[in-house]
Every structure is written in structure tokens, then in C-alpha cells.
Amino acid sequence: MRGFLLRRLLYMIPTLFLVSITTFIIIQLPPGDYLDALAADMGEAGVENTAVMEALRQQYGLGQPMYVQYFKWMKGILLEGNFGISFEKNVPVNDLIWDRLAWTFGISILTLMFIWFTALPIGIYSAVRKYSVGDYVATFFGFLGLAIPNFLLALVMMYVAFKYFGQSVGGLVSPEYLNQPWSWAKFVDLLQHIWMPIFVVGTSGAAALIRIMRANLLDELYRPYVVTARAKGMSEFQLLLRYPVRVALNPFISTIGWILPTLVSGEIIVAVVMNLPTTGPLLLRALLVQDMYLAGSMILIVSVLTVIGTLISDLLLAWVDPRIRYQ
């Protein structure tokens, strides 16, 4: 187990390095930088302040070769935890992102739990009652869940909630609670809102997992060991959970690895549509105005946390399934 852990941790280092480089290249792609846009604005307004511009340029190393800028940025992050400054809002990136990142990952993890709690029983039911009405219904909704893009489902849900239930839509709490301190009433209000993004983001993942669970379990259900257990007079329910479901569960756990990135991706799009106080809207805005350190830091942190999440799922799998450990 220790060797496995060590190997996985070592693999992470080049991955994280690649992530940081990719992020930096992407935020450098647009021609010009924020200061150019600022200079154009100032020129239009008739203010010419080259000294200030030059000072800013020095501070961020803008205009210097790309690798110099990259090292300046990375040095700040690794040594001081300083992700740079948001040009547009003129405050440190650190002040802007952590709340939103916490929400993004909070919602993603809740969504993961939602997916598990729905996909597991439905998948088992679909496999055990193969070709029953319930199986066909589950399969149909599964395909539908895969075919509807997240943001479209979000729009439809918002429309239905507004039109037929008169619920305020968008955001995580009702407008009257927005700047209130946390209270029981606000928490209840949060619960009334948060199920919608969780449901929207989780549908496609749940649909995929139902199909995986069904296929896995179908492979196991007709194995001789199941027949043996049945012949010994074990009750059907106990038998099901104790043997075939346990075996079928392993690929199920390994799917966290690819489901977490898609959940985070989905959350970001849905957040833009539903106007949630998470990473999505801020990232989109930052990308559109070329607020490069803000956008870059968010892409970087989201990616790094996802890589770590994937690592945790791998370790979990290795813990459950010894065959993986000894590969």
C-alpha cells in the first residue's frame, strides 16, 4: 500500500507542473494584456500616465518573456501563497476566489453523493429486474439525462420552478437573505435552493453510473457463485448485497476519477446560468476582460483540486480492491 501511495504521489508532480504550464499558456493566449486595454481606455479618456503604467508593468513583469512571467507568478504562489492581483477589481486574487471555490467544490461533492445515492439503487434494480417496465423507464431517463446539456436542463428547471411553483430562481439563497448573517432560516432557504444545481449537475453523471452499475451487475448475477449461494438457501436480498453487488461496486468507485472533473466542469456552466456565487460566473467574467491572474488562478486551483480528488478516489479504490494495490 505504501509503495502504491508513493508512486501515485510521484505521478502527481509532473501532472501538477503540466497543469500550471497549460493554465499559464492559456491565459497568455489573447493578444495584448490587461494593461494594453487599460492604456487604450486611459488614452480615450484623455489621461496619459506613462509612469504609473510603467510601474505596473514592472511589478507584474508584463512585456517580459513568458517564462519570466511564469516564474514570477509561480514563485509568488509557492513561496507566499500569493496568486497575484485582480486587475479589474484591483484587489488580491486571494480575497476573491476562496469563498467561491469552496462553494464550487461543496456543490460538486454534494452532487457526487446525490449521484451515488440515486445511481446505486436504480442500477441494482435495473439489473435484477432486467427488461421490466422499471428497467426501461430507468434506461430511458438515463439516455435523456445524457442527451440534455447541463445548462439546458438548468434553464428548463428554472422556468418550471418560476412558472409553476413561483420560486425565486437563481442564486443559492433568496434575495432577502443575501447579506444576512447565517441563521436557521437562511440555512433552510439555502436547502430550498441548493437541490436544483445539485440535481442539474448530477443528472448526466447519475445516468452514466446507472448504466455502468447495470452492466457490471449483469456480468456478475449469473455467475456460479451466485447460484451456489442461492442453493444454500440464502435470502435473495442478502445474497444480492453480499456478493454480486460488492464485486460490481469496484468499477463503480473507480468512476469517481473521471466523474469529478466532469462535475466541476458542469458546475461551472450551471453556475453561470443560475447565477450561483461560485467559480463559474467569476471565471467567465475574468476570461472575457482578460483579468489574467484571476482567471489563471481559478483554472489552476480547480484543476489541482480535481487532480487531488482523483488521487483520493484512486487510493480509496486501492483500499477496497487489493488487486489494484499489487499491480
Binding site: 492559456i26 445524457l146 442527451a147 446539456p149 428548463v156 422556468y159 480547480v302
Partner: protein, 381 residues
């Protein structure tokens, strides 16, 4: 023991025809695919959608940029086939006219059906000029109002009074072709990378596999958002289209590369590959003549399953405003019009019409891909 009459007859018959019909692998694939009814229906739907994409101008009654101030947010007008008047009931396709009512207090206007006014609709009517298949100049349209200036909004109008039906039909071309072109790009990358990885193995394999794992472990949307946001807004639409396609195709190639690698690994040890190599064929010939044909059916199935992913990716990016830009009409840019809840409440058809088209297209492609995947290996049961 004596044989019965029928058994004798059967034995005689099998003597007459000692060689059964030999079907080639593709015929077997086709035979297995035909049994998958849902996939067959989906294949018809997919062909229909691509035909719409090819003949979009012929099918769209109005140009996509034709605005009408008097019909902003006009609701859908249902198409009726029969007219009943003093002379009895006759077959005459038409839509009812729209009457605009202005509510001065609420400062908004609403439309009511004007039952008096009948706008006759005909087939193969004259309309705006276009080039069929980009070559043949024409001005006939499959259907439309007999007088091209009459309003006919089968699926409603948007905020500039543009016909949603025509826009969706034209958007089909862009959205569906992005899927195809994107798949072609990821096919090239995927087969090249997967082939290198599986055929040579060793450190090449490790390097490429680590790279694929890296791509798959990173949440893609923020990355694609960053890439797409880097496209300058003043680029010509065609270049934007191409770059968005390339970005979108980055999504599909990893799973394809894995599949190709797996096939290469399992085929590498097969006798016929060893035989081909002993015959003195070069690596290129072994790969192209012997390996690729034996897994091309699997590749086709994976490609079909990749198309809907790319369509969804394009739609998402365009919806966020960082993919294709407005003069270009795609399903994503159409949905962008329905971005906030107020416009959806006012004009639900802005969401429903393009939304259902996307869902139908993606579902059909998924079912088709599933059927193809099952049929891809005709020798398994």
C-alpha cells in the same frame, strides 16, 4: 432406425446446396445492426438531420437575418391544413394572421390570433435567392407563405422578429458539421497517438498514456473556456468556426486513442500480424493493411458516440458567449437568446425549439452509436 419422409427430404436438400452463403464481415455487421430496432430508427433520424443540414436553405422559408420590427417575440403560429368556409371544407395549408395588441399600462405588447386573416402556405414557393449546395443558384423553397412578405412563424420569432424555424434549420448545418469535422480531427489525433502507443509500447506508450491521463484528470470546461475566450471577437466567422471545432475536438480524442491502443495491443500478438511481418511488410503496411481494417468497425462506433459530445460542447461554449459568435447561426448561439429567465418567461419557444432539436439529435446519435458498438463485433454473441 428408419428416417421419416421429411428428414430424408431435408438431407437431400442439404446435399444439393453443400456450400452455405458466405457473408463478409461488413455484411455480418449490417445483419447484426439491423436487429437493433432503436438504432435503426435513430439511423433514419440522423440521416434526416444531416439532409436538413445539407439542404438548409431550401428548407428554411426565410433568410436567417431577416428582421421584422412588427413581429418581435411573435408566438408560434400553428400550421393548419384545411379551410372551412361557406363553400365547405377544402385542403388549403395556411397559418392564421397575428394581431398585435399594445397594453399601454404594462408597456408591453401581446399577440392575438387574427382568425379572419388567412395566410396561405404553399410548397415549392418562390422566396429569397440562395445557392443550392453552394453551387446552383435557386430561389424555390420547400414551403413558405405564397407571398414571401407575409409573416409565418411556425416556431415563433426572436427579439428582432427573426423566424426561429429558419434559424434552427440553418443552425443545424453549423452544429452538426462541427460534430463531424471535430470527429475527423480527433480521429487523426486519436489514431495516431493510440497507434504509436499500442504499436511501439515501451516509453512511447508510457509517455502518451501519462499525457492522456493528465488531460482526463483536468476539468475540461475551464480550460476550453480559457481557450475559447482567447479567440478575438473580430475574427471572420469561418476562422472562429474552425478554431472552435479544433477546441471541441480536443475532447474526443483521448478515449479514441485508448481504444485504438487497446486494439493494437491485443492484435500485436495475433498470428496474422506476425505472418505479415515475416513476409517483410513495413510497419506502415502492417498497420494500414492488416491492423486498421480489423478494428475499423469499432472505430466507427466510437466516432459516432463522440459526435454528440462535440455537439454538446459547441452548444455549451456558444451559449456562454465564448464559442461561435452571432452572425453565425448555430444551436448554441440560438440558445444564447434564451439565457435569462425573463426572456424565457416572455418567449418560452426560444428555449423549447432549439432545446428539443438538440436533445433529439444527441439522443439519436447516442442510440445509433450504441447500436453500432454492439454490431461492431459480429462474431461475439
Amino acid at each position: 432406425m428408419t428416417m421419416t419422409q421429411t428428414e430424408l427430404a431435408n438431407a437431400a436438400e442439404s446435399n444439393i446446396d453443400p456450400t452455405p452463403i458466405v457473408l463478409g464481415p461488413w455484411a455480418l455487421v449490417w445483419r447484426k445492426f439491423r436487429r437493433h430496432r432503436l438504432a435503426m430508427v435513430s439511423a433514419v433520424v440522423v440521416i434526416f438531420i444531416y439532409l436538413v443540414a445539407i439542404f438548409a436553405e431550401f428548407l428554411a422559408p426565410f433568410p436567417t437575418d431577416q428582421t421584422s420590427v412588427r413581429h418581435t417575440f411573435a408566438p408560434p403560429q400553428p400550421l393548419a391544413l384545411f379551410v372551412t368556409d361557406a363553400d365547405g371544407t377544402r385542403f388549403r395549408p395556411h397559418v392564421k394572421g397575428l394581431k398585435m395588441e399594445i397594453d399601454r399600462e404594462a408597456m408591453r405588447r401581446s399577440f392575438a390570433v387574427d382568425a379572419e386573416r388567412i395566410i396561405p402556405v404553399g410548397f415549392f414557393v418562390k422566396g429569397y435567392e440562395y445557392k443550392l449546395l453552394g453551387l446552383i443558384p435557386a430561389n424555390r423553397h420547400f414551403f413558405g407563405p405564397l407571398d414571401p412578405r407575409d409573416p409565418m412563424y411556425l416556431w415563433g420569432a426572436d427579439r428582432l422578429g427573426r423566424d426561429m424555424f429558419s434559424r434552427i434549420v440553418m443552425g443545424t448545418r453549423v452544429s452538426m458539421s462541427i460534430g463531424l469535422v471535430g470527429v475527423a480531427v480527433s480521429l487523426v489525433i486519436g489514431v495516431a497517438m493510440g497507434g504509436l502507443s499500442g504499436y511501439y509500447g515501451g516509453w512511447v506508450d508510457t509517455l502518451i498514456q501519462r499525457f492522456i491521463e493528465f488531460i482526463r484528470s483536468v476539468p475540461t470546461i475551464p480550460l476550453w473556456m480559457g481557450l475559447a475566450a482567447a479567440i478575438p471577437l473580430d475574427w471572420p466567422p469561418l476562422r472562429t468556426y474552425f478554431v472552435v471545432t479544433v477546441i471541441v475536438s480536443m475532447i474526443g480524442w483521448t478515449s479514441l486513442a485508448r481504444e485504438v491502443r487497446g486494439k493494437f495491443l491485443s492484435l500485436r500478438g495475433e498470428d496474422f500480424i506476425t505472418a505479415a511481418r515475416l513476409d517483410g511488410l513495413t510497419d506502415r503496411e502492417v498497420i494500414l493493411k492488416h491492423m486498421v481494417p480489423s478494428f475499423s468497425s469499432h472505430i466507427i462506433a466510437s466516432l459516432t458516440l463522440a459526435v454528440p459530445l462535440m455537439i454538446l460542447a459547441e452548444t455549451s461554449l456558444s451559449f456562454l458567449g465564448i464559442g461561435l459568435q452571432p452572425p453565425l447561426v448555430s444551436w448554441g448561439t440560438l440558445l444564447k437568446e434564451a439565457q435569462n429567465i425573463r426572456s424565457i418567461i416572455e418567449a418560452p419557444w426560444l428555449l423549447i425549439a432549439p432545446g428539443s432539436v438538440i436533445v433529439v439529435a444527441v439522443l439519436a446519435l447516442n442510440f445509433l452509436g450504441d447500436g453500432l458498438r454492439d454490431a461492431a463485433d459480429p462474431y461475439s454473441n
